[in-house]
Amino acid sequence: MNVLFILVPLALSLALAGVAAFRWAVRDGQFDDVETPAVRILLDDSPPRNEAAPRP
C-alpha cells in the first residue's frame, strides 16, 4: 500500500498536465465554437490548388 505515496503524486501531476492543456486550449479559442467543427467533418477536402497558397 505504500506505493500509493508514489502513485498518487504521479497521478496528480498527470492531472496537472491535463489541466494545463485544457487551459491552453480554452485560451486558444478552441472551445469557443463547438458546433461548426461537427459540421465540417461532412465537407470533402478540396483538391489542391495550383498556386502556392497554403490550405487552411
Binding site: M1, L4, F5, L12, R23, E35, L42, L43, A53, P54
Partner: protein, 856 residues
C-alpha cells in the same frame, strides 16, 4: 446501382445538364433527375423516365407524387442569371467602400505575420453545413484570401487576407452573389464577453479536475481507510485532500466569495437582510466546510468535507457557465448590426469631385451625393435630382415618397430611383435618427430591475440557516462542543444551496437555448420573467401584422397577363414592379415567349413594352383605359374597393385589350387575425401604433377585429414612446413589438421590447427579445414559453427547498456524515438538472399558435 460516372460535375444542373459518357451508347442518356449518364442499367421511375440510380428514381417519384414534378423540371432548366426576379443581393456600394477605407482597416482588422491582416465579419444568411463549405471556399476562389473560418452558430467569419492582393469589398461582393450579406463585426462588446466566458470555462475545468481528484481520495477514506488501520496513509489522504481543496476553494470559489461579500456590504448598508444574494449561504457553507475540514486534518480528529465542498463549487460554476453561454448567444443575435446610417459619405468637393469621406468629417453646409439604392447619410435639403425615398425606417410606411429639389430628406431613408445631391443641415447625432439612436443607447434605467425569484429567497435563506444553526447548537452543546461544531458544519454543508443556486440559471439557460433554436432570442432572464407579467401588447403594423413588402393584394383577370406584366416590369424599381416580379417571377414564362423588349416608361403613369409577340401595358387604370379602351364594370368596382382599403390599383392591357387588374399593397398576414384574437382571448389588451397612413392602419384594424380606438396611424417615433409611457403610468405592463427605428424608442420604454426579424440596429439594441420569425406567431410562442419556463423554475425551487429542509432536519438529528452529504448532493443536483432539461417550455411539439416553424 449504375456504373459510377467518370467525373462528377460540381453542380450538375446549372446550364447544360447532360454529359456524354464513354462506352456503350445506351449509357449516354441523361438521368431524369440529376443529369448524369444513366449507365448500362438505368432505373425506371413510375412514369417510365430513366434514372441513373434508385436514389434519383425515388426522389423523382416522390416529387411527382407531391405534384411538384412539373415545377421542378421548369426550375431546373433555368440559368440563375436570367431570372431578374431572383437577383442576388447587391451590397451597398457605400458599405463596400467603407470596407476598403484605410481607417476601417486600421481600426477593425488586426496585423498578422507577413503583412497579412485578420478581420471578423458577420455573415448573414448562413444556416447549415453547405453554407460553411461555401464560405470556407473563399481561399480557393479569391486570390489573396489565405484562410476563412466560419463560426456557424455565431455567423462570424474569421478571415486572413493579404491587403496588397485583395480588398475586403471583393470578398463581400463574392459572398453577396450567394445571398450572404457580410458586414463588419464592429461591436467590441462581444469580444469582452468571450473573454469572461473563457475565464469561467478555465475556472470550471480546473474546479472539476480538482473535485474529481478529491473525490477519488475521499472514496478511499469512505471505503475504510481509517486512522486505526493505516494512520500514515489516512493522514496522507487527508492532507492530499486539503492541498487539492485549497485551490478549489480559493480559485474556483472566488467569484462566489466576491459576490457574497458585495451583497453583505449592500445588505449592511441598507440594513435589509433581504438584499443578501444567494451566493452568501453558498460562501458560508463552503467556508464552514473547508475550515472545519482543514482543522480536522491538522489536528487529526473529526470529519472532512473536502469532497462535498469541491463538487459543490464545480457544479455551481458549471451552472453559471451554461447561463453565461446561453446569454451570449442571445446577445449576439442582436449584435449583428446592420449599418443603419453608413459611417462614410460621398462628399462633393468645391471643384465638383466626389470623395468618400468618413461621416465625422461632413459638416452642415457640405453637399453629399446619394446614388440610387443607397442610404441617405444626413438630414438636409435636395439640391439636385428628383427621386423616390423609402422612409420606412423612420415612419414604417411601406410606400415610397417622391422628393425633388428643395425637398427635405432624412438620414436613414433609402434613395430608390435616381441620384440626389443633398446639402447637409444636420449630421451624425444631430439628425433625427441620430437623436433617437442616442436616446436608445444611452437610455437611463427605464424600469426598476427585476429581482429574480431565486434571488429573493437568498436573504431569507441565510436567516433560516442561521436560526437552524442556533437550534442545533442548543441541542448538541450539552453533549460536547465537538459534537455541536460537527453537526453545525454538517448542517451548513448539507443545506448549502447547491441545487438552489443551480436551479434558476440552469432552467433559464435551457429555456433560452431552446427558444433560440425556435428563433426567439432572449437577452436576459429578467425579460423572461417580465413576459409572464405582461397585460398589454402594442404591435407595429408594417412587417409584424403585414408582410412588410409590397405584394399583389388581390387581382382579377388573366393570370398570363400578370406574367407578361412581370416580364415587362422586370427591371424597374417601382413598388408595383417589385410586387409583380416577386409574385410572378420574371422568368416564369415559357422560353418561347422570351424576354421583354422595347420597354418604355411613362413617368407617373406606367410602362409599355413588348414580350414575344404581345404588346403589354402596365400602369394606372385611368391611363390604361385611355390607351386600350374601357375596363369592364366589375373590374372597375373591384379597383374602387381596393383603393378604399389603401392599396394601389394597377391595370394591365395586352395587345390593346384590358386583360387584368390588380391591387398592390402590403398584404395582411394570413394568421394575423386569428393570433390577435388569441392574444385578446388570453386577457391582454392589443393595440396598434404605426407610422403609416391612418387610413391603411384603420383598414388593418378593421380586418383584425380590433376596436378603432385601439389602432393609431401616423404616429411618430416619439409619439410611440410617449404612448407606451402613458400606459405604464396607468400601471400596465407593456410588451412592444416593432422592427424599425421608428419603434426603437418605444421598445426601450416598454417593459418588454421585442424586435422582429429584419429589424434595424436601433430596434435590436433597444429590445429585450429578438424574434427572427416574422409575424405574430413567435410572439405567442414567446409568451407561452415564458410562462412554462417560470413554472419550471418554481417547481425546481420547491424541490430544492424540500431537499434542504430534509437535509437540515437530518443534520440537526446528527445523522449527516460526509458520506451522506457527498451522496445526497449529486442526487439533488441531478434532480434539478433533469427538471431543467426536460421542462416543457419552448418544447418540440407544435407551438401554441398551431403553426410549425415557418421559415421565410
Amino acid at each position: 446501382m449504375s456504373v459510377a460516372a467518370p467525373e462528377r460535375p460540381r453542380v450538375a444542373w446549372r446550364g447544360a445538364p447532360a454529359r456524354p459518357a464513354p462506352g456503350a451508347p445506351a449509357a449516354e442518356a441523361a438521368c431524369a433527375h440529376c443529369g448524369l449518364p444513366v449507365g448500362p442499367r438505368p432505373v425506371l421511375t413510375g412514369a417510365g423516365e430513366a434514372c441513373c440510380c434508385t436514389g434519383c428514381a425515388v426522389v423523382r417519384d416522390a416529387l411527382a407524387a407531391a405534384g411538384l414534378g412539373a415545377d421542378y423540371d421548369r426550375l431546373r432548366g433555368f440559368d440563375p442569371a436570367a431570372r431578374p426576379g431572383s437577383r442576388p443581393k447587391v451590397p451597398e456600394a457605400l458599405a463596400l467602400a467603407e470596407l476598403d477605407a484605410p481607417a476601417f482597416l486600421a481600426a477593425h482588422t488586426r496585423e498578422a505575420e507577413g503583412g497579412r491582416r485578420t478581420v471578423e465579419l458577420f455573415v448573414d444568411g448562413v444556416h447549415c453545413a453547405a453554407c460553411v463549405w461555401l464560405v470556407e471556399r473563399l481561399p480557393y476562389e479569391i486570390d489573396g484570401v489565405e484562410a476563412a473560418r466560419l463560426d456557424l452558430p455565431r455567423a462570424r467569419l474569421a478571415l486572413t487576407f493579404d491587403p496588397a492582393r485583395v480588398r475586403l469589398s471583393e470578398v463581400a461582393r463574392w459572398l453577396a452573389r450567394f445571398g450572404y450579406a457580410a458586414h463588419p463585426a464592429r461591436q467590441s462588446g462581444s469580444g469582452g464577453a468571450t473573454e469572461a466566458e473563457r475565464k469561467l470555462l478555465v475556472r470550471m475545468g480546473v474546479a472539476w479536475a480538482l473535485a474529481g481528484n478529491v473525490m477519488l481520495v475521499a472514496f478511499a477514506l469512505y471505503s475504510g481507510l481509517d486512522a486505526a488501520a493505516d494512520p500514515a496513509l489516512a493522514a496522507a489522504a487527508r492532507w492530499v485532500s486539503l492541498v487539492l481543496a485549497v485551490p478549489a476553494v480559493a480559485y474556483g470559489g472566488a467569484p462566489f466569495f466576491q459576490r457574497a461579500w458585495a451583497s453583505i456590504g449592500a445588505a449592511w448598508r441598507a440594513r435589509d437582510a433581504r438584499r443578501l444574494h444567494l451566493d452568501t449561504p453558498i460562501a458560508l457553507g463552503v467556508l464552514a466546510g473547508f475550515g472545519q475540514s482543514a482543522w480536522a486534518t491538522v489536528t487529526g480528529r473529526g470529519e472532512v468535507w473536502f469532497d462535498s465542498v469541491a463538487v459543490l463549487i464545480a457544479a455551481l460554476l458549471t451552472a453559471r457557465w451554461l447561463q453565461l453561454r446561453s446569454r451570449r448567444l442571445a446577445g449576439e443575435a442582436s449584435d449583428r448590426l446592420l449599418a443603419l446610417v453608413p459611417r462614410v459619405a460621398r462628399r462633393v468637393g468645391p471643384d465638383g469631385t466626389v470623395a468618400v469621406v468618413s461621416l465625422d468629417e461632413v459638416r452642415p453646409g457640405d453637399e453629399v451625393e446619394v446614388p440610387a439604392g443607397e442610404v441617405v447619410p444626413v438630414d438636409g435639403v435636395v439640391t439636385r435630382g428628383a427621386s423616390r425615398l423609402d422612409r420606412a425606417v423612420l415612419t414604417g410606411e411601406a410606400r415610397p415618397e417622391p422628393v425633388a429639389i428643395g425637398g427635405r430628406v432624412e438620414a436613414g431613408a433609402t434613395n430608390l430611383s435616381a441620384p440626389l445631391r443633398v446639402r447637409a443641415e444636420r449630421v451624425g447625432e444631430a439628425t433625427r435618427v441620430g437623436r433617437l439612436l442616442a436616446w436608445v443607447e444611452r437610455g437611463e434605467a427605464r424600469r426598476a430591475p427585476v429581482t429574480l425569484l431565486a434571488d429573493r429567497i437568498g436573504g431569507g435563506f441565510v436567516l433560516a440557516v442561521f436560526a437552524l444553526a442556533a437550534v442545533t447548537a442548543a441541542i448538541w452543546l450539552p453533549a460536547g462542543a465537538d459534537h455541536a461544531v460537527a453537526h453545525i458544519v454538517a448542517l451548513l454543508v448539507v443545506t448549502c444551496p447547491c441545487a438552489l443556486g443551480m436551479a434558476t440559471p440552469l432552467t433559464f439557460a435551457v429555456a433560452t437555448g431552446r427558444a433560440a433554436r425556435r428563433g426567439i432570442f432572449v437577452k436576459s432572464e429578467e425579460a423572461v420573467q417580465r413576459l409572464t407579467e405582461v397585460d398589454t401588447v402594442v404591435l407595429d403594423k408594417t412587417g409584424t401584422l403585414t408582410e412588410g413588402r409590397m405584394t399583389i393584394a388581390a387581382w382579377e383577370g388573366d393570370a398570363y397577363a400578370l406574367d407578361l406584366a412581370a416580364a415587362v416590369e422586370a427591371h424597374a424599381t417601382h413598388p408595383v414592379a417589385e410586387a409583380l416580379v416577386r409574385e410572378r417571377g420574371a422568368g416564369a414564362l415559357p422560353e418561347a415567349v422570351g424576354e421583354a423588349g422595347d420597354v418604355e416608361a411613362e413617368a407617373g403613369r406606367g410602362v409599355r413594352g413588348r414580350v414575344g409577340s404581345h404588346t403589354v401595358i402596365v400602369g394606372r387604370p385611368d391611363w390604361v383605359e385611355a390607351v386600350s379602351g374601357p375596363l369592364p364594370a366589375p373590374w372597375r368596382e373591384a379597383l374602387a374597393g381596393w383603393a378604399a382599403e389603401g392599396h394601389t390599383p394597377v391595370a394591365v392591357a395586352v395587345d390593346g385589350v384590358p386583360a387584368a387588374v390588380l391591387a398592390v399593397g402590403d398584404r395582411l398576414r394570413a394568421d394575423a387575425a386569428a393570433l390577435v384574437a388569441q392574444l385578446e382571448g388570453s386577457g391582454k389588451r392589443v393595440l396598434i401604433l404605426s407610422g403609416d397612413h391612418p387610413a391603411a392602419v384603420a383598414a388593418v384594424a378593421a380586418r383584425l377585429g380590433l376596436a378603432p380606438e385601439r389602432a393609431h396611424g401616423g404616429v411618430s417615433p416619439e409619439g410611440k414612446r410617449d404612448a407606451v409611457a402613458a400606459m405604464q403610468a396607468e400601471g400596465r405592463v407593456v410588451l412592444m413589438v416593432g422592427d424599425g427605428v421608428n419603434d426603437a424608442a418605444a421598445l426601450r420604454q416598454a417593459d418588454v421590447g421585442a424586435a422582429v426579424g429584419g429589424g434595424t440596429t436601433a430596434s435590436l439594441v433597444a429590445a429585450d427579445l429578438f424574434l427572427t420569425r416574422p409575424g405574430v406567431a413567435p410572439l405567442l410562442d414567446a409568451l407561452d414559453g415564458a410562462r412554462l419556463a417560470l413554472r419550471t423554475v418554481r417547481r425546481v425551487l420547491t424541490l430544492s427547498l424540500v431537499y434542504n429542509a430534509v437535509g437540515a432536519a437530518a443534520a440537526m438529528a446528527g445523522l449527516v456524515t460526509p458520506l451522506v452529504a457527498a451522496a445526497a448532493m449529486p442526487v439533488s443536483s441531478l434532480a434539478v438538472v433533469a427538471l431543467a432539461v426536460f421542462q416543457p417550455a419552448f418544447g418540440l411539439r407544435a407551438s401554441v399558435s398551431g403553426l410549425r416553424n415557418t421559415q421565410e
